[in-house]
């Protein structure tokens, strides 16, 4: 782990004046001040021994790493009995069943690996997470994530009003603790793809304002890599600027997620999309990155694959800090659009929670293609010929969509094409090269360079 200066890299963290609270945030800010990008896997195993081994290997990786415990689907939907049954029978789970293991076992696990230089975050996906939050608080978890919109609309059938009261209760439970957990909004992801940047930025800001309203001070804003690095750079700058304007008095930072949509299928294609996300993080001054691995398109990655991805990210981060920028931010008005969505939503009700419920019920906020019964699903997005993610149809959102050419229905085939945009963008070069190598093999020995 080398300390390095980051000449030419993005702006300094905008949280000067508010000291970091808790060891999760302290570690992130300490790394950022030393010019290092904090990197984190998505990793969860059902049994305690494998989970402990995974955390240890992430801790010992040659990277500025943070630990992650990703929970399983049963725990996500509060079906803790099924999770317990799976632990008894040894049936495979797709993550760590924290509630089923219980607070004592979880606390022992955390105490055996985590520390000042290795905080651990729990990632879950639960819309109604009260039992989980009680267990996390009792087990002394450093940080977790989610939100009343970001974990309700895409992953649950719970009414948004019910998720809002559940998350209010959870935030207040954290706030009452002597050493409160850090809470990250997942609002920058929304279905992983085809949600334009301004809405991702607005939802992330609105969720952190909701966390603030319920007494939290240590929070993070999120954004997921989309289809165009310049547009993503503009979005991250907008997110940071709005954070600076709206979260004064809080201890906050920004986390970027490596692409959450349909992933490249070739190993090189997937390392290239990860590489782009690392460069984006460094260039935008983002403090923390959650990586993906080449196994992503096929299955749950192994510990070794996660460690590889973290070490690869660390080396790209060092490289990016030392070089000239390879892409520029676009100027498409993401900040103005996001600010408009935030402000006009907040005007709808006296509290952030009520404003979110009202905004979705009116279609004032509307996540494109999202089938949740409380989402209007009138808005549409498309990937334009330059690879930028744009509005095709704003529905009833207060957006000025000028591009009327794009106002046409999306076909099934067109949807598949847009969903696979990044898969093709990053795999094409690799597949083309394989193709030309095959041709060359057919024509006798020649240099490939």
């Amino acid at each position: 782990m080398s300390a390095l200066a980051r000449p030419g890299a993005g702006p300094a963290p905008a949280t000067r004046g508010v000291p970091p609270q808790g060891r999760f945030s302290s570690y992130v800010h300490r790394s950022a001040a030393a010019g290092r990008l904090a990197v984190q896997p998505r990793m969860g195993f059902a049994d305690l021994a494998t989970m402990r081994e995974g955390l240890r290997e992430v801790r010992d990786a040659d990277a500025t790493s943070i630990g992650t415990i990703t929970l399983d689907s049963y725990t996500r939907v509060n079906d803790h009995d099924s999770a317990r049954a799976a632990l008894r029978t040894g049936a495979e789970l797709n993550g760590f069943p924290l509630v089923a293991h219980g607070e004592r076992a979880t606390r022992e696990l955390l105490e055996s690996v985590s520390g000042r230089d290795f905080p651990v975050q729990v990632r879950h996906g639960s819309a109604l997470p009260q039992p989980l939050f009680r267990a996390m608080v009792a087990a002394g978890v450093d940080a977790t994530e989610g939100g009343p919109v970001s974990y309700c609309l895409p992953y649950s059938r719970a009414p948004i009003a019910k998720a809002v009261s559940a998350w209010a209760e959870c935030c207040e439970l954290i706030a009452e603790q002597p050493d409160p957990m850090h809470l990250e909004s997942f609002g920058g992801c929304m279905l992983g793809q085809l949600c334009p940047p301004s809405l991702l930025v607005a939802l992330s800001v609105l969720e952190t304002l909701f966390f603030r309203e319920h007494g939290l001070h240590s929070i993070s804003l999120s954004y997921a890599q989309q289809t165009h690095p310049g547009q993503d750079l503009e979005a991250l700058a907008a997110l940071r600027r709005l954070g600076g304007e709206r979260l004064s008095g809080a201890d906050w930072h920004v986390v970027l997620y490596t692409y959450m949509g349909v992933f490249p299928r070739t190993p090189i294609g997937s390392f290239r999309i990860l590489e782009e996300s690392v460069r984006l993080a460094v260039r935008s001054g983002t403090e923390r990155l959650i990586v993906k691995t080449p196994a992503e398109a096929y299955r749950i990655p192994t510990i070794a694959e996660n460690v590889n991805a973290l070490e690869f990210a660390e080396s790209i981060a060092e490289d990016e800090a030392a070089r000239e920028p390879s892409f520029e931010a676009t100027d498409t008005g993401i900040y103005e659009e996001a600010r408009l969505l935030v402000d006009s939503t907040l005007e709808l009700a006296p509290t952030v929670g009520e404003a979110l419920v009202k905004a979705f019920s009116r279609g004032h906020l509307d996540v494109p293609f999202c089938l949740h019964q409380d989402n209007a699903n009138k808005s549409r997005a498309y990937v334009d010929p330059r690879g930028m993610l744009r509005w095709a149809e704003p529905g009833r959102m207060p957006l000025n969509v000028k591009d009327f050419d794009a106002r046409r229905p999306v076909s099934a085939q067109g949807l598949l094409g847009m969903l696979g945009f990044n898969e093709r963008r990053f795999d094409r070069e690799q597949l083309t090269r394989v193709h030309s190598r095959e041709l060359l093999v057919g024509s006798g020995p020649r240099s490939l360079s």
Partner: protein, 157 residues
Amino acid sequence: MSQVMRPGKRFIVSSVSSDAHMWNLVFLQLLLEEHGAEVNNLGACVPDELIIDECLSTRPDALILSTVNGHGHLDGLRLIRKIRSEPALEDLRVVIGGKLGVRGAENIVYAEELALNGFDAVFEAGSGIERFEEFLGALESGPSRARPALAPVGAAA
């Protein structure tokens, strides 16, 4: 598609109870609507009872289930047994498709069990959209369901 479906068919599109994936459902809705169908899309993580209630109250031409989280062979089996135990839904056309297990290409092993328990067709990912479109085309050819005679209707519900 080779055989054209007559417009005005009504479909229920749904995921199964444990599956939160949404894009597969959005795609199916668009595909069916392009062929003039009317689609009631129930979305992700739908409880069995809600699917059954919707089928009973709206009597669609077919129920289309799509699932990709690898639990389809479990959730789908439980659901089709419940559906076939409802006398009013014994003859409803019901199909399932997607990634039905976690074994990749070997998921095909689940197809037979699902069909024997009452699905009219099972489409494992990789079998191509053409087979599904053939199924849609065949919807024109009369009311008889091609379910095997030995299907134990409701036997294990």
